[in-house]
Symmetry: C2
Subunit: 282 residues, 2 copies
């Protein structure tokens, strides 16, 4: 080891050590989904790990390259870290554990908090974003970051949407996904979950580039609104579109097909949250 031993830190020398089983095959989305289930997830990087602790997710363990230890020490002193094992391992050992050559390893495993139901989420929130079948981890993470920035309270994901606690999603969200309640609709409740939102007093806005949808800037923002977004390219399913109260478009130039779904989300969140009042004609 390149650093002196530190209290409460254990060196891992055998890549097969079961104490680091949480960290295996990190790049295989399918294997990870199976392994993690609804039990745990990965955080990566100093800031996201601090954000994990802030968010109240309970830690399982930490795995670091020895050179990462020094900067991690302040985090180790946080009360939430009491009793949480911190493992260090050399580059080659980490590579065998995670399945690829991971530089600057700074990983944490945390228990997933139980997800609220769609109804529970709807009863506790005023602004919701609904993601149908989004399959790009970066988009989901970036949308979560923008959602927090514009005071969207919660996320509902469709049964086939990407896992919002995927490693890269958590990282791209700058850890913000961990601070939002997420409800996942069951396959038999999709798109019926949209109706559950209506029962809790929500308007639901299906975002679409269709010409005949209502202009985002023309809509009054109700007390409770859910912004419903589909995957880029494919867009929202017809049944989901029909289940919503409004079809809403962001006015864009006719020379461009559509916006990136993350950009569409951010613009809509910003428009919903913008200050209201009497404006003079420009």
């Amino acid at each position: 080891m390149t650093t002196a031993p530190v209290d409460g830190v254990t060196e891992i020398v055998d890549p097969a050590d079961p104490r680091v089983d949480d960290y295996r095959e990190l790049n295989s989305i399918a294997v990870r989904a199976e392994m993690e289930g609804d039990e745990f997830f990965m955080g990566e990087g100093y800031v996201p790990i601090d954000r994990m602790l802030d968010s109240g997710h309970r830690m399982r363990s930490v795995l670091l390259h020895p050179k990462r230890l020094k900067r991690f020490l302040p985090t180790m002193e946080r009360p939430e870290m009491a009793g949480v094992p911190v493992y260090v391992a050399e580059q080659e050992v980490i590579a065998e554990i995670v399945g690829f050559n991971m530089y600057r390893c700074c990983l944490a495993s945390a228990y997933r908090a139980p997800m609220p139901t769609v109804r529970e989420l709807a009863e506790s929130c005023r602004r919701i974003v609904v993601l149908e079948a989004l399959n790009d981890d970066q988009n989901v993470g970036a949308i979560a970051r923008a959602a927090r920035a514009f005071e969207i309270d919660g996320i509902v994901i469709s049964p086939t949407c990407n896992d919002p606690y995927q490693r890269r999603t958590v990282r791209v969200s700058m850890g913000e996904i961990l601070h939002m309640p997420v409800a996942r609709a069951a396959p038999e409740d999709w798109p019926a979950a949209i109706e559950t939102l209506h029962e809790s007093g929500f308007e639901t806005w299906a975002m679409t580039p269709a010409d005949d949808a209502v202009d985002l800037w023309d809509l009054e923002v109700p007390d409770k609104v859910a912004i419903v977004l589909g995957a880029e390219g494919h867009g929202l399913e017809a049944a989901t579109m029909r289940a919503t109260t409004h079809r809403v478009r962001i006015p864009i130039s006719p020379v461009v097909d559509s916006l990136n779904v993350g950009h569409a989300a951010a613009v809509t969140f910003a428009a919903v949250g913008r200050p209201r009042g009497v404006r003079t004609t420009a």
Copy 2:
């Protein structure tokens, strides 16, 4: 070869064939920057290649996997493709040319159009985005796509900003970057290029998360405005900030540090372009 010979298509069997020199070491940003200079750039995928032709960039050549040829035939029949060599090569040959195992190869090389000067751009545009030292190809590409969507006319890049014609940038922009004039400020003209914009009648808005900046929604949008964005994390240089006429912030929740720079760009573009007029109090 897996397909029958097609008129005007040449098979490449020797990876060292100089006719495909444009396609070498595709994943090395440094090598590519040196090779391409201001002479040529890469397009990738059917739609971006069609967008390249639409944009008036003159083609040098095309390189395809044989299986890609059939869907490419309609593009080959476009008048802009007259005399442009189309090469096909098997998977292993392509891998040796480009330097990695590239599946579904569908690449085109095109001449770079001469860039306008900052002054020429300023005289021909009303809405400009200025990018200082952005170093993420995806962000630059996504910003170009959003810029076109919200009718931003042109892009000014600082001397150290990413090349806007990088392969991945062109792809992420959905080819939209090719439809916008881009001016690159010379090192000795930075941040003086901001002053050039003022001389052409522009207000310049330095986007910043600083609390004491003006709220985006409170600003009247002038006839000519340039939106100035810095790299994520670092933000704009102090000298650049001082050179601008306004410091502008997107109001976001205090619990979040900042927005992704692409999201900040899209929200600002949308706010600048939104319809104006008398609004009633909500």
